[in-house]
């Protein structure tokens, strides 16, 4: 017991002395004026002067080209109403190398039915109701990728795609729920420009000629698109 007290009385003054010594340097626990690193004759920052040219690290953003936009022109057969020129526009987004989503809008004019032509009577539709306008939202899938060759030195990428979707058709004074499906051929002139040959069937129900029936409106078109 006694020796323990003696030890304590020995340790305490030593500790106090030590504290006092540190306080003299005013640097314990980071307190006090901390401004004076030992002065040196020259700047020690650049001890070795590297004789190697540092490579400039540039990281430009990689340009993504997943969208495809374009226009097309072709022929569309409106069931019972002759065939006429159709023109339209498409915008696609390529989600994977296989799948893409596409929106199209197009317009054609319906002609005369055989009945109107033969009877020579009053037309069934007014001129404005003969305008056939559609839009579609589609899901497409690329198949059969490959190359075609022109002569010895030229090769172009091509692929087919299957496509189907839903939309609406404005015809004969009414909007009609429309299902469409088809197949297309994409011919890439370059990595960013493509030609399209496209065949679609647009189906909807119509009761214009007396009975309710599902009509098939076949469309074939040739288009050009640009990736961006």
């Amino acid at each position: 017991m006694e020796s323990r007290f003696r030890l304590l009385f020995l340790v305490l003054p030593v500790f106090a002395l030590g504290l006092g010594g540190c306080a003299a340097t005013k640097n314990l626990f980071g307190r006090g004026n901390n401004s004076a690193p030992p002065p040196t004759a020259e700047d020690p920052g650049q001890v070795i002067d590297p004789d190697v040219e540092r490579r400039e690290i540039k990281e430009p953003k990689i340009d993504s080209e997943n969208f495809e936009v374009g226009a097309y022109v072709g022929i569309m057969a409106v069931e019972d109403f002759e065939s006429n020129i159709v023109y339209g526009a498409r915008l696609a987004y390529h989600v994977t190398e296989g799948f893409f989503v596409e929106g199209t809008i197009g317009q054609t004019d319906a002609g005369l039915t055989s009945f109107e032509r033969l009877s020579g009577g009053a037309p069934i539709l007014s001129d404005s109701d003969r305008t056939f306008t559609y839009y579609n939202l589609n899901l497409g899938y690329n198949i059969l990728p490959g190359e075609v060759f022109f002569g010895e030195g030229r090769a172009y990428n091509t692929n087919l795609y299957l496509i189907a979707g839903l939309g609406s058709t404005r015809f004969a004074g009414d909007d009609r729920f429309t299902v469409n499906f088809g197949v297309g051929y994409r011919f890439l002139l370059s990595d960013s420009i493509a030609l399209h040959l496209d065949f679609r069937d647009h189906l909807f129900d119509i009761d214009l000629l007396g009975e309710d029936k599902t009509v098939h409106n076949l469309e074939g078109n040739l288009g050009m698109t640009v990736f961006f």
């Binding site: 920052g45 001890v47 690290i57 993504s64 989503v101």
Partner: protein
Amino acid sequence: MSERNITTIRSTPRLTRVSRALLLLLVMSQVLTAEPAYAKAEYRSVSVADPYLEMRTGPGIGYPKFHVVDRGDSVDILKRRTDWFLVRAENGKEGWVNRDQLQRTLQPDGQEIEFAAATQADFTNARWEAGVLAGDFGGANIISMYGSFSLNPHISIEAWGSQILGNFSNGWMTSVNIVQETWPDWRISPFFTLGTGIIRTEPKSTIVQGEDRTDQVAHVGAGLRIYATRRFILRAEYKSYVVFTSRDDNEEVEEWKVGFAFFF
């Protein structure tokens, strides 16, 4: 002494980062007046670390391989389409390389390169989403498009535009709704939704005598977001609408829809 050395070396990239930020600020501030220095095309360059890098003629697994770049050679990355990259070799040949192969190349400073690929984690965390759904709206056909912004993995805000095509009337509907996902990290993630909007109804004049009308709607609903692959989501939902008509009774409409969406 050695500590100071380390500090010096570290400070160099930090300095360039600062100077690059300053440069960017300068360019941004002068973007209206001058930009010739910035207009020059610069491409990211990587060097091949694998024994070889295969180049294909097109951005797809089915296109033929036509060129191989050896280990140690560098290629410039010109552009990206889905998971394929158009690269230019030192000899000027251009071809498409798959992300998985390009992932195993090195940047000029020897670091490995990382290209973002869509995974199920992105399904949970991605900010933007867009999709197309179709189905039945109180007996009529409905086609809808939506765009969504996630505030956090659990809560997102959606804007919808729909066309309704029925036997007796057609119409349009736009709405905004808030979506709550309780388990956004599940592959099949259920959600609840609450929203409001406007519906425009146009009765078919030949069958029903009626005027076009515009009414406010409110809806509650529930559904499932299902992660399919890459960026694709399948989505199915049910919503119950109340149409606040100007007549004495409000109309109630049930809606079922399925479709697909993708996030980016």
